[in-house]
């Protein structure tokens, strides 16, 4: 038997004749952790779908060898039985079922007569969650009671429960806080020690560097390099991914900061389901013209709720005042907020950003379509001109504005959502996790655009869970924790440690 647990040989997968994967090789030894890196659209997810038989054997060319035997799986069920477990980027939990039920979904423990063996399942679920350092999760409560980060860890618990020999983690830390990510990395190290092989897919290259033994870079469906991690640095990975040297992750552009444009006074948001609970508690701050204000904090700190409330999009009840250019404004609904000069690029692109059945162009003009009408009729030429202008301005890569928006990669979808909001010509631009699930190249372009906008006098409010990003582009940083404002820092000599300490609440107030 070969020393490899698993080999993929020269995998080619075509969609309508266009190769998405073009001769990829991948080998993994037991207990090895491979970092799979590549920009969005490079083919990482496609490769993992081939591996886990989401695309069954026969729909692609090449060969997969599993423990020395050819693997010709027709369904995920077969690969799972073999011991290949995949944790998908998108959460696959059933919100109404309990945590334990979710963990055992598909391989429930049974009592005679087909009844569910709840005591055993709950016990095992508790064990798993304790390993993941989540002892405060009650396994009999529905999953929907827990936030995104917790749900991600529950998803991981579900995978751990399946006795994996090869564990594939697709962007597992996208919605995790730094502390939760550390726990995750610790778990992966533990699994490696037990001989479980891992494929770790992440845009967060620091994590890849911290945990992986080998880095495989793919680009445009082609295998670029396989290198032991010791010989690699984050910079070299990026260079391989984008195919060019990226001198800086964060562009620089001087921009003047002017007078106060927007002011939030004592904004308070109440939980949708438990109206007594405050998600945001008396938050006040000022935002200046041409300023990029980052909002950092742990997941669940109330940042998304805060910016939703500013934009009139918060689902529950909220209080507080929003002032714009010295006048109090009423942002009761998104429509009114947009008319007042506010714009929001929401956190959840799929649910709140793109409109699936519309074309790229129609998505871009959705907010301002009435601008391009003559009488009642949409002036197709004027609309198309506006769309083209935005596509060029944001370097949005699409074969045609008439393509369905779902045909674009995550980064380009995000640019389309951004373009839609920029067409409203906002004075205050709110970005909620603007680079989540966006590849390195597109990230750089989004940062550059933010700086250009700031230089034109737009005030930008950016919520981000990636501290390097917050430090890289913000002029000033607010830190939130448990719904309260825990710090307000000018971004000079600021470190991740300082922000984190404030977020957890070790330092009550920052320097101004």
């Amino acid at each position: 038997m070969s020393e490899y647990l698993f080999e993929m040989r020269h995998i080619v997968k075509r969609f309508d004749g266009v190769p998405a994967l073009d001769g990829i090789d991948l080998k993994i030894k037991p207990g090895e952790c491979i970092g799979l890196c590549g920009e969005n659209g490079a083919g990482k997810s496609t490769l993992m779908k081939v591996l886990s038989a989401v695309y069954p054997h026969g729909t692609w060319d090449g060969e997969i060898v599993w423990e020395g035997q050819p693997l010709r799986a027709q369904s995920i069920r077969e690969t799972e039985e073999a011991g290949i477990i995949i944790i998908h980027q998108e959460l696959m939990l059933v919100p109404e079922l309990s945590v334990a039920e979710n963990i055992f979904l598909g391989n429930e423990l049974r009592l005679p007569g087909g009844r569910m063996n709840y005591p055993a399942m709950n016990r095992r679920a508790e064990e798993l969650l304790r390993e993941l350092k989540l002892p405060d999760v009650n396994v009999v409560l529905p999953v929907k009671n827990y936030g995104g980060g917790h749900q991600q860890l529950i998803e991981i618990a579900k995978a751990l429960n399946k006795q994996a020999k090869l564990l594939i983690l697709d962007e597992p830390s996208a919605s995790l806080t730094a502390a939760e990510t550390d726990v995750l990395l610790e778990i992966v190290r533990g699994l490696k020690a037990k001989g479980v092989a891992c494929v770790y897919i992440s845009h967060k290259l620091e994590e890849v560097a911290a945990i992986c033994d080998t880095v495989v870079v793919i680009r445009d469906g082609k295998h670029i390099a396989t290198t032991p991690m010791q010989q690699m640095q984050v910079n070299t990975i990026i260079a391989q991914m984008v195919g060019r040297e990226m001198s800086q992750m964060y562009p620089q552009l001087p921009h003047a900061i002017g007078e106060v444009v927007m002011e939030a006074r004592a904004v308070t948001c109440y939980d949708v389901d438990q109206p007594a609970r405050k998600r945001v508690d008396q938050v006040s701050f000022q935002l200046r013209r041409g300023e990029i204000l980052g909002i950092a904090g742990l997941v669940g700190a109330g940042r998304t709720e805060l910016v939703s409330a500013l934009f009139g999009a918060y689902a529950g009840t909220s209080e507080g005042e929003v002032w714009l250019e010295g006048r109090r404004v009423d942002n009761g609904t998104p429509l009114r907020a947009i008319r007042n000069g506010f714009a929001l690029v929401p956190e959840d692109r799929k649910q709140h950003g793109i409109v699936r059945d519309l074309s790229v162009g129609a998505n871009i003009t959705l907010s301002v379509l009435q601008r391009y009408t003559r009488m009642t009729r949409i002036d197709g030429g004027a609309e198309m001109a506006a769309i083209q202008e935005q596509i060029e301005r944001l370097a949005l890569k699409t074969a045609s504005p008439g393509l369905p928006i779902t045909a674009l990669s995550g980064g380009n979808q995000q640019k389309a959502v951004l373009a839609k909001m920029l067409l409203t010509q906002p004075k205050v631009l709110i970005l909620d996790e603007p680079t989540r699930g966006v590849d390195v190249g597109a990230k750089y372009e989004i940062y550059k655009l933010m700086l250009e906008l700031a230089a034109q006098g737009v005030a930008i409010l950016m919520v981000s869970s990636e501290l390097p990003e917050v430090l890289g582009v913000s002029d000033r940083v607010l830190v939130m924790g448990e719904g309260r404002l825990r710090g307000d820092f000018v971004n000079e000599g600021l470190t991740q440690e300082k922000l984190l300490a404030a977020a957890i609440g070790q330092e009550q107030h920052g320097t101004r």
Binding site: D16, F311, A313, T333, P334, L335, A337, I338, R339, L344, P346, Q351, H352, G353, I354, V355, R356, D357, L358, A362, L366, S367, L369, Q370, T373, T376, R377, I378, G380, G381, M384, Q388, S400, P401, G402, K420, T424
Partner: protein, 380 residues
């Protein structure tokens, strides 16, 4: 790969497939009735029958695209038709007053339905179910369960009149020219924006094909009595609703709301208002349908439109409207209505038992949606 290619082709030319299906249905009935089915008289009659389902389908297709449903349209059509008959027979109102009042009434009820759905937050399924019972109840109460007759001749013309053949020919010519101009405009705009343009012969053939169909129908209608007024109305509505769907801001927003309501709301669209007006339009269509129905039967019947909502919804789905909202076309829904009407008419001519008619229609609906689902490409 090959099945995928086939699926793609199929979904691209779904409308063509539906037309072929209609041709097959007509050929079958024509064969079974020794050609009686395809006489000018029967086709004229068939199209007139279809027009009421078609008028409602114009409104319903927007509702379904927006991700809602309206089950009350059959009862509402009955109620509004009954109101027309009451005004005409008991109040001796003039035609203009009857039409005006019924349209206003229909719009009001539609907006009320829309208000309950969009602003009060009651699921449209429930609003429709409630309306289905309540509107029928109002109708029964108002008419005392009696048929209201005789309706004045002015009103009857709406349902039973014909456009003079010479006008019909002129209309056919106008439609043919319009198809040519629209195709040319579309080609020009595609070329202008560097989008792929279909080959000239293809578009040319398409226009000629459309022209041939128009000519055939005008000829058929003219060799009987002319184009029936209800069919004329349906043609106008087809134009108006297609225009709304493809050329206006409101139309674009209907699709956006149905595809992703939350994203549309966050884009600054008043999604509640969009829904409100879609239901308002539906109410207007019920009013038109009710007027035509009363005129066609020359009486207001307390059972008019019973189970009509099922035909209308089936027509939309057969015509390729997406069940989860966000996609669909007006002409598709009308072709769906033609399928349903052809089955009704043909089976009645063959003296098929009523229960068999129901079974066949049920099977056809299920089959059509199955074909639609099975040939859909690019699942998530």
């Amino acid at each position: 790969m090959n099945t995928n290619k086939f699926k793609q082709l199929f979904s691209q030319y779904k409308i063509l497939a539906l037309l072929v299906a209609i041709a097959l249905i007509w050929a079958f009935f024509s064969w079974k009735t020794d050609g009686d089915f395809t006489t000018a008289r029967n086709i004229s009659n068939l199209m007139r029958q279809m027009s009421i389902t078609g008028i409602l389908a114009c409104g319903m297709v927007f509702i379904i695209i927006a991700g809602e449903i309206d089950l009350s349209v059959g009862s509402l059509l009955g109620l509004l038709g009954g109101a027309a008959a009451l005004l005409d027979v008991n109040q001796h109102a003039s035609l203009a007053v009857t039409i005006g009042t019924v349209l206003a009434f229909g719009l009001a009820v539609g907006l009320f339905n829309g208000f309950l759905t969009a602003y009060a937050g009651i699921p449209s399924f429930i609003v429709g179910l409630g309306g289905m019972l309540a509107y029928r109840g109002v109708l029964l109460g108002a008419t005392g369960g009696q048929t209201i007759a005789p309706v004045s001749d002015d009103l009857i013309v709406l349902g039973q009149g014909y456009l003079a053949p010479s006008f019909g020919t002129a209309l056919g010519l106008v439609l043919f020219v319009l198809a040519g101009v629209l195709t040319w405009q579309q080609r020009r705009s595609l070329a202008q924006h560097q989008l792929p343009v279909r080959p000239l012969w293809f578009d040319g053939l398409r226009v000629l094909f459309l022209g041939a169909i128009v000519a055939l129908f005008v000829h058929l209608f003219n060799s009987y009595e002319g184009i029936p007024y209800p069919v004329l109305l349906l043609l106008v509505l087809l134009g108006v609703f297609s225009y709304i769907a493809t050329q206006t801001v409101f139309g674009r927003r209907i699709y956006a709301v149905g595809s992703n309501m939350e994203a549309t709301r966050l884009s600054g669209v008043n999604v509640r208002a969009v829904k409100l007006w879609i239901f308002g339009l539906m109410g207007l269509m019920c009013a038109l349908g009710g007027l035509i129905n009363t005129a066609r039967l020359a009486a207001g019947s307390p059972s008019a439109g019973t189970a009509g909502e099922l035909d209308v919804i089936a027509a939309c789905f057969i015509g390729g409207t997406s069940m989860r909202g966000g996609a669909g076309t007006v002409h598709g829904a009308l072709i769906g209505a033609l399928v349903m009407a052809s089955l009704d008419n043909g089976m009645s001519m063959l003296d098929v038992d009523a229960y068999w008619q129901m079974i066949v229609k049920g099977l056809i609906l299920t089959f059509a949606v199955w074909v639609d689902v099975a040939t859909r490409t690019g699942r998530r």
